[in-house]
C-alpha cells in the first residue's frame, strides 16, 4: 500500500527510503512528490509537516532455477555525511577526530578545509564527534536541518555557524533579527535584519557548501580631529 507520510523532526528521504525498502530517488522523483520537490530543493532537508508520498515497493521478477541456492544483494546506499569545522572562522584542519554513530566509531583526521567526511548509515539519528587535542565534543542530530526557505532553517544554519538566533522556534524574533544583522554585516550584505533572498542564498552557500569564511573587512583607520 502506498502511503502519504507526514515528515517529523529528524526525517529525511534517505532515512525513509531505507525504512520502506526503496531508493531515495524512487521516492523523491515520484510524480506524487512533484509539489514537494518544487517546495524543497533538497530531499534531505525537509520540514516537519511536509507530506511525502511513499510508493509501494515494486515487485521484480527474477528467473531462478529450482533446487539451487541463489544470492541476492540488496541495494542500499549509505549516506555521505560531511561536516566542515571552523574555529575562529578558520578551518579546523588536520585534527584527529572520532565520530561515533549508533555506537560505531569512525576515526580519522580533518582535511585541510577542516572537513570530516564519512559514509554512515542513512538511518543514523544521533552521533558524537570528538575532535582536536581536547577532544572537543559535538553532539550531532542527523536529519534535523530544515529548509533554508523556512525561518527555522535560517535559524539552525545561523546557529551552526556561530550566529546565535535565540530560541529555534521558527519565529522571526529580535534575536533572530540581530543574528541576521550580524551575519549580514559579517558577510557585507545589506543590513536589513531580514531573511531576504540575498541573505538566505549566502547563508546556504556558507553552511551547505564547502566554503571558507571570507576575510573580515577591516574597520581600522583613523580620522583627524
Amino acid at each position: 500500500m502506498p502511503l502519504t507520510f507526514e515528515i517529523k523532526d529528524g526525517d529525511s528521504v534517505i532515512k525513509l527510503s531505507v525504512k520502506y525498502g526503496l531508493f531515495c530517488e524512487t521516492i523523491w522523483n515520484h510524480p506524487d512528490n512533484a509539489e514537494l520537490r518544487r517546495k524543497r530543493k533538497d530531499m534531505n532537508t525537509l520540514l516537519p509537516g511536509d507530506i511525502l508520498f511513499i510508493p509501494d515497493i515494486r515487485p521484480k521478477d527474477v528467473p531462478a532455477d529450482t533446487g539451487k541456492l541463489h544470492r541476492y544483494r540488496r541495494k542500499g546506499v549509505p549516506a555521505n555525511f560531511s561536516i566542515q569545522i571552523y574555529q575562529n572562522e578558520q578551518p579546523y584542519a588536520h585534527q584527529d577526530y572520532k565520530l561515533v554513530v549508533d555506537g560505531v566509531p569512525y576515526t580519522g583526521m580533518s582535511d585541510t578545509m577542516g572537513i570530516v567526511s564519512k559514509w554512515i548509515p542513512p538511518t543514523a539519528v544521533e552521533g558524537v564527534l570528538h575532535i582536536g587535542p581536547d577532544n572537543y565534543k559535538i553532539l550531532l542530530r542527523f536529519g534535523y536541518l530544515d529548509p533554508i526557505n523556512e525561518i527555522i532553517g535560517v535559524q539552525k544554519r545561523l546557529y551552526n555557524i556561530g550566529f546565535h538566533p535565540g530560541e529555534l522556534d521558527n519565529l522571526m524574533g529580535l534575536k533572530t533579527r540581530q543574528a541576521l544583522l550580524d551575519f549580514q554585516k559579517r558577510f557585507d550584505l545589506s543590513e536589513t535584519g531580514e531573511a531576504d533572498e540575498e541573505t538566505r542564498s549566502r547563508l546556504e552557500e556558507i553552511h551547505d557548501e564547502v566554503n571558507l569564511f571570507p576575510k573580515q573587512s577591516s574597520e581600522t583607520g583613523s580620522n583627524s580631529l
Partner: protein, 728 residues
Amino acid sequence: MNYDHMTRVQGHNSYSLPPSRLIILSWNLQNFTGDHRLGMTHGSVDSNENMARAAVVAAVMQQIHADVLLVMETGSDVSGALEKVRSFLPDKDSWHPFVSGNTHAIPIISPRYHFKQKKRTLGKMRALINLVEFFDIMPTTTTRVLGTTQVKDALSLLSQWKNKDLTWLWNVIGAPDSHPDDTTPDTLLAKLLPPLKNDVGLVKADSPAFWAGVEEQLNCIEENLNTGEYLIEEASWIQDLKLSPDKRANDLGKLEQLTDALDFLELLCLMHSALVNGHVSSPGVYIMRRLSEVRKFNPNEFAPLAACLMASFSDLIFDLRGTVDGLYENKHVNFAYDALKKLKILDLIAETYGILFRPPHNFPQAMEQFFASVSPVDDAYGVAQKDTLGNWIGVQDPNSARNWRSALHIKFPISPNVFVPVCLFHTRFTGNESIKKQKVKLTQADKVLKMRAESVLDIALWNNKTQQNCQSLIIGDFNLPANLDGQVLKDFAAEMQKQNYKRVGTEGAYQLTTLKSVKNIIKDTTKLYNEPYDGVFIPNNFLSGKGKIQMSGARTVDTMDFKKLTQPYKNVLRDAVVRQYVKFIGKITFKMKECNEKLVYMCSRPGKQVNDPLVTPFLDPNNLVAPRNEIINVGNHFTLNLTDLDTNVVRPVLNHFSGYVTLLHQAAQVNGLAHNVKELLQSTEKEIDDLLQLMATLEVNAVARKTVAYRQIVSDHIPVALIVTYKY
C-alpha cells in the same frame, strides 16, 4: 558539555566551534559625572559631554571587536555609564552590564576626630544623620561610656545646628570647657531634671493640663533614670510643645528657655537611650541597628543621635559590608562615604568596577556559566578580600597601611570548558598618612611607589592562594611604570616573578596614557605617552599553558576611529579643543595687558621723557579685544572643520597676536624702556611665544587636537586591549 548540532545526514554541513579567544578592553574612565580628585563635574550621565564620552568608548569597542569592556570608575555612576556605553553599541541587547560591589577595604575612623569645627555644622550634622541611617555602627570598645566632655561637645554641636544659646544649660550642667569630670549622661540628666521641673512649676498655671503632662513625663524620666528605660520615641508632649507656637509666643522668655531645655532633655534621653537601648548586645560588641527600622525617618529626630555618635567616634569602626540589605547599591555606599568625607573622618573615594560582557554568539550557555562562575556561593566572584584561611589580604586589611580598594575577580566563559579568569585592579595612587610615617629608608615617593607595588603583589598572592590551578590575569591601572627601574620596582618584579607573574611585554606597542597636561601633550606629540601605568600581569603557564596573550598594550588615541561618531558628539570633542585654543588666547591677552600696563607705568614716571607718540595699540582698551571676531571665527572653524583644518582661517588669530607682541617690543624700544622692562618683556615674550607655538601646533597637528579632545572629554587614560587566545 556539548552542543546539539542539527545536520543533514546526507550532504554537507558546517559548524563553528565556540571561539577560543576573548578580546578585552580595560579602561580607567575615572568618573562620568564628577571627578573627586579634581573637584570637577561633568554633568549628568546624559550630558552631551558624557554622551560623547560613552560614544567614544563604544566606538573603540566596535573598532577592536571587543568581547569585554572592563571599566575602572571612581564613582557611583558606573551602572549609568555602562548603560550609556551600551546604548551606543549597535547590538546593545547582546551586551550585559555588571557593576561590582564597592571595592574599598573597611574604612577606619581617624583615631581622633576633632569635632569642634565650627563651619558648616549643619552639613556635617546631616552627613552624620545620613550615615546612621544607612549603616551599622559598631563600637570597638564594649565598655565605652560617653564622658561628660563628649556629651557637652555633642550638645554644643547641636546648639550650633539649632542656633541656640545654651548658657542656661551650661549653668546647669557645667560649661563645655570646664574641667571634665567622670559624670555620664545619667549624671547630666540628674542635674538637668530638677531645674526643669522647677521651671515647669513656674509656668504651668498658664496651661495646667498641658504642663501637667510634661511634669508627668519628667517624673517618669526621673524614676527610670537608673534603668535606662526612658525616651526612645519622641514623646507626645514634646511634639505638642513643638506644635504649639502660639503657646510659645504667649510665654516668651521663661517658656522659650524651657522649650529649649526640653529639647535638650530629649537629646540627653536619646543619647542615653542610644547607648543603652539602641544597641543590641552580643559578646564583645554592640551593634546599633538602622534606626529607620525602628523609627520613621525624620532628620530632625536623628540629630541628637548624630551628635551622640560624633561624640563617641573615636572608638567606632564602620562595617560597610555585609550587614545592611542593599549595601551594594552604590548610591547608599557613596552616600555614606560622602557623609564621612564631609566630616573629614574618612578620606575615601568610592570606586567600583564595571563590566560589559558580550557572550559568544554560538555559546548560548555562556551567560548561565558566567552566572555560575560569579555565584557568591563558590566564592569565585567578587572583590578579593580574604585568603583561603580567612585572613584579610593586605589591601583589605584594616590594620594594613595599604588598606584600600581591592581587585574584582571574575571569570569569562568563552567556551563550555574554558574560562578566562581576570582580576581587574586599580591601585591607589597616593599614599596615606601611615605610609608616609613608615620608618624605612626610602624617599616619600618611593614609599608610595612601594605601596602601589605591594598592592599588586597582594592580588598576585591572593591569586596564588585561592586560584592555584588557574591564576588570573591581573589587568588594570597599577600606577606603576612599565619599565621596572629602581630598587623598589626591581624588588617588586622579583616578588611578582616568585608569584609566577610577569608584566606583559609591549611587543612593539607601548602601554600608553595621556596623563600629561594638555599643554605638554600639544608641545610634543611624539612624546605623548610616557607614563604607562595601565597594564597586564600574566601568570606563567596561563590557562595551563594553553592561554596566550596575543597582543597587549594600549591603543593610541590617534588610532581610535571616531569616524562613526555622530555629529553632536564630534562637536563635543571639537569644542574641547576650541576651548583650549581660546584659553591660550585668553592667556596671551592677559600677558600683553600686563606688559602694556607696565610699559605705561614706566612711561608715566616723573622725569621720564616719553617719545611721542608712544606707539602701542594697547593704550586703547578696545584693542585688547580686537581679536575677538577672529577668535569667534576660529572657534566656528574648529567646530565645523576640525577634521580638515584650513590654517588660513585660523592663522589670522596667531598673526594678530604675533603683531601685537612685535608692537609691544617696538614700543619699549622706541621709548627707551627696553632696558627697564627687559626682564618682564623677555619672560612675557617667551610665554607668548610658547603659547603661540602651542596654538600653531593645534592648528597643524591633528594628533594633538585629537589627543586634547580625548584627554578633556574621555579620560586621561587610554585603554589597554588584549586578545586572550586559548589553544584547544
